[in-house]
């Protein structure tokens, strides 16, 4: 994700209307500090929950102080530490990460740490790498919070220490903290809970010193911080948006346009209304909503609904036709994104490798289909959802409801996966939920739920891309030429971020991984075509790297082979300006036994890629039987800067690898006659347990600032596997997924 300068920040704020103050945060903090007793729920107008609401998911502020020195940490007289997490938990473990940062500096007992999710407040909870926006994505959660959350914990600790110093009449420097306990050599001892009230009366220090790495007790300490969300996700008590209960809650599904761009002509809801449980059949901007007392009744009602659509302009979109068009465009120069360092002095290419790569549309297919609960009441709007981009959702929900920002309250819940789907600058399903709530006169809270078919057919796919590459080697086997044309939709064009992100006609998310490659490729000439289609695009876990890494890492491999060189050595010779990439490549290769003989029928393929400030190298060990690929083992090395939760990092690498492998094997959304041909897991296959390779993860020790972890494990997998397949004598696969090449056992 790009970092914004001040001008850009101001423009973004104007665009999103967040200049208006909608959270009187300072006065709220004062209120909380003076609250006193543990568990006291503050009545502060509608902002704070009532005791009934406190039991609901997303009851922010339910855990009160009394020690509440900033927006991120509370210490109660019950000795519990509550960390307010500004980021969205979709499985990647940032809740545990943020809590670790606070708990380490605070010297808290991990078993006494609780977490809750922050309200929507771009002033308090913005992603520091985004500017004035609260949101999670681009693998930035820990990176942007690393110092901020540590500072929050250190502040609370400093105030506890000052309070103890005062109470015990000893110098603060003599007080020790450990496991939520303050001690002094004289034998004085107090828990944080016992000292919380006194601590809340101290002045928060401006810049409390942070620990040195040698002093960390949780950060980087393997298995010291079990995931805080594990227990509730193992016993059925974790509340996802689909589980929210509210008095009088109605369930809604929408009859969506059957093809991208189809227009509603008319509908007849008579039969739908006769289905038991259906309460309303109403038109919304998105289509026709069927509202009922339960989700099943709503689905049944929708089956009985008769809708006429005008598909005269929407049925032309076709994946095969698009690919042909893209291939033709890729043969023409587009808008340049990379110019060769010196146009004329390039040595002659004696060997050329030319390839055209084709990547299909991809759906995110998170396990929890999209959903949002919207409740219009008492002149305000409340929503419950996996709000991954709260600032956008907040603004667009307010706009849809016709309410000022301060009358809109978001409750962010954990979500059943996102992979990018919930992070979108149109807030499609949030706005749709609000529209349904409005359409029923705001008389009840309503959950808009996507069925799996709705979710998969909704568009907002990782776009289709075509790359045309022509690379040449000189007589010494060095790369002499590299022409690279990319064709694919700009994810940001036409959206609120367009002005900020698209520069000189180039959307960086279309070219990342080719542009500013880790390799020394001064001769690289890159250009981009950004067609516009009726199907909306969206980022999909690791964004541009999902296709650029495949192209770069298979092309580099082909060039190595053409040059008669070992693919590892060839890469290393080009990584002069990327020592961290070189190091992680060597680590993976070493751990995988690269170059050592393998048993018959098994080959290794290697790949390295930088994304989201982290460097990941993978060696895939692959066998083939009857022409079918089997990935047996993946050795993964990651340099993500200072690692916060090593086991979470390992889990994310395992997950990225499985996710990438499923996509490589199976995933494509075919658009035929303007609609997705794949609607459920029978035709859009997901990787299953018996296809998962053994994954070994090695984390590079580092003191660099934290890089991303949620996405960087993805890009190297597909090319590493493809390179192994080629080494086994299999084809060089240029069109994904592998099932198209007949390479996968079904």
């Amino acid at each position: 994700m790009n970092r914004f300068n001040n001008d850009e920040q101001r423009r973004l704020m104007q665009l999103l209307g967040v200049e208006e103050s909608f959270a009187p945060s300072r006065s709220r903090r004062v209120f909380l500090q003076s609250a006193g007793a543990a568990g006291l729920v503050i009545g502060f107008g509608w902002l704070a929950p009532t005791s009934a609401e406190a039991a609901l998911p997303g009851a922010e502020g339910a855990a009160a102080g009394p020690l509440a020195p900033n927006a991120f940490v509370r210490v109660g007289t019950d000795n519990l530490v509550t960390v307010i997490c500004k980021h969205h938990e979709m499985g990647q473990g940032n809740t545990t990460g943020l809590a670790s940062l606070v708990a380490d500096e605070l010297d808290a007992d991990w078993s006494l740490v609780r977490t809750e999710y922050a309200p929507s407040d771009a002033k308090l909870y913005n992603n520091l790498l985004y500017g004035p926006m609260q949101g999670t994505g681009g693998s930035t959660a820990i990176a942007n919070s690393f110092l901020q959350y540590r500072g929050a914990g250190a502040t609370a600790r400093a105030m506890l220490v000052l309070a103890a110093a005062e109470a015990w009449h000893v110098p603060a420097s003599e007080i020790r903290t450990s496991k939520s306990t303050l001690t002094h050599a004289s034998g004085r001892r107090a828990t944080y809970g016992e000292m919380a009230v006194a601590a809340s009366r101290q002045t928060p220090p401006d810049n409390p010193p942070l620990k040195s790495a040698a002093q960390f007790t949780f950060i980087g300490k393997d298995r010291s911080t079990p995931r805080v969300d594990s227990p509730s996700k193992c016993d059925g008590t974790a509340i996802f948006t689909i589980d929210v209960k509210l008095p009088g809650l109605l369930a809604a599904v929408i009859a969506w346009p059957p093809s991208f761009g189809a227009k509603l002509v008319s509908f007849d809801g008579a039969d739908a209304k006769n289905v038991k449980g259906v309460t309303d059949v109403v038109e919304v901007p998105e289509g026709v909503a069927v509202v009922a007392t339960g989700t099943w009744a709503a689905l049944q009602g929708r089956r009985a609904l008769k809708v006429q659509w005008d598909e005269s302009a929407s049925k032309d979109l076709d994946s095969e036709a698009l690919l042909a068009r893209y291939r033709a465009q890729a043969a023409q120069p587009g808008t340049p994104f990379a110019k060769p360092a010196s146009a004329s002095a390039a040595p002659a290419a004696v060997k050329t490798v030319e390839a055209v790569y084709e990547f299909p549309f991809l759906a995110h297919a998170a396990m929890e289909p999209m959903n949002c609960v919207a409740w219009l009441h008492d002149g305000m709007l409340e929503t419950w959802s996996g709000h991954q981009f709260p600032t956008f959702d907040h603004v667009f929900a307010a706009k849809a409801a016709g309410l000022p920002l301060e009358k809109v309250k978001l409750h962010t819940l954990v979500s059943g996966g996102s992979f990018g789907r919930r992070a979108n600058v149109w807030s499609d399903f949030t706005v749709a939920a609000v529209n349904v709530a409005k359409a029923i006169g705001g008389r009840a809270p309503v959950r808009l739920q996507f069925s799996r078919e709705d979710d998969m057919g909704a568009g907002l796919y990782r776009p289709m891309y075509v790359h045309a590459v022509k690379a040449g080697l000189d007589a010494q086997g060095r790369i002499a030429a590299w022409q690279h044309t990319i064709v694919g939709q700009s994810i940001n064009a036409g959206g609120p971020m367009a002005q900020l992100l698209i520069k000189d006609g180039i959307d960086p998310t279309s070219v990342e991984g080719v542009e500013k490659s880790i390799y020394d490729l001064p001769m690289l000439a890159g250009s981009l075509h950004s067609p516009t289609l009726a199907v909306r695009p969206l980022w999909w876990r690791s964004v541009g790297n999902t296709h650029t890494a495949y192209v770069m890492e298979t092309m580099i491999d082909e060039l190595a082979v053409a040059a008669g060189r070992d693919p590892l050595a060839f890469r290393l010779s080009l990584l002069g300006k990327s020592p961290r990439a070189a190091a992680v490549l060597k680590l993976a290769a070493g751990k995988a036994g690269w170059g050592k003989p393998r048993r018959a029928g098994v080959a290794q393929g290697i790949a390295v890629h930088e994304s989201f400030d982290s460097f990941v190298a993978q060696v895939a060990e692959v066998s083939m039987r009857n022409g079918k690929v089997r990935v047996e083992r993946v050795v993964c090395a990651i340099d993500c800067g200072v690692p916060v939760n090593p086991d979470v990092i390992r889990a994310q690498m395992e997950g990225c690898i499985g996710f990438a492998l499923g996509a490589l094997y199976y995933s494509e959304i075919d658009i035929k006659e303007g609609r997705a041909a794949q609607r459920n897991f029978d035709t859009y296959r997901a990787l299953r347990i018996y296809e998962m390779p053994r994954v070994e993860v090695h984390i590079m020790p580092s003191t660099e600032k934290p890089g991303g972890v949620g996405e960087p494990g993805l890009p190297p997998l597909a090319p590493a596997v493809a390179n192994a397949v080629a080494k086994l004598g299999g084809p060089r696969v240029r069109r994904l997924p592998f099932t198209r090449a007949g390479l996968v056992e079904t």
Binding site: P226, C234, T237, I242, M367, E654, F681, M692
Partner: protein, 153 residues
């Protein structure tokens, strides 16, 4: 027409359409939301419950079929195997987003209840119907083995 169900040891009556998928009765009539909707076509396993010790995809069974039968959801797991599975899941930090995990745990528990020492092939076959988009599969496998060891004591 009223159907009497036995859910987690409690008798519950259901008066609605007998053809309603058990999943939605569990979730919305009985309020037990641990069992999830993921696909509605028995492909993903998020809706898995146990009936008389066997797994069942509750999205694919009419509630009428469960009249008089013992249904166990994630909230009602109490066997030794279930406790071992849940403990192993937490010990190994199996979960990521967690949405599929009720179903995974139901299937893993059924496996261990019937075969306390499953092989990797047994695990492949027993768990093939449970999709995890976060791909926590390596840990699911390790946790099943860990639970198995714990049960062997």
């Amino acid at each position: 027409m009223s159907i009497t169900l036995n859910i987690n040891g409690t008798r519950r009556d259901f008066d609605g359409d007998p053809d309603t998928p058990l999943l939605w009765v569990i979730r919305e009539e009985l309020g037990l939301t641990g069992t999830k909707y993921g696909c509605g076509i028995a492909q993903c396993g998020a809706c898995t419950v146990q009936v008389d010790g066997q797994t069942l995809r509750s999205c694919s069974a009419p509630v009428s079929a469960l009249a008089g039968r013992t249904v166990t959801t994630i909230e009602g797991l109490s066997s030794r195997a279930a406790k071992a599975v849940q403990k192993a899941w937490v010990d190994l930090d199996v979960v990521q987003c967690g949405y599929c995990q009720s179903g995974q745990i139901m299937s893993a528990t059924a496996l261990l209840e019937q075969k306390p020492k499953p092989s990797d092939t047994d695990i492949d076959r027993a768990m093939a119907g449970n999709i995890c988009r976060c791909a926590t599969y390596q840990r699911i496998r390790a946790a099943i083995h860990a639970a198995s060891s714990q049960l062997a004591g």
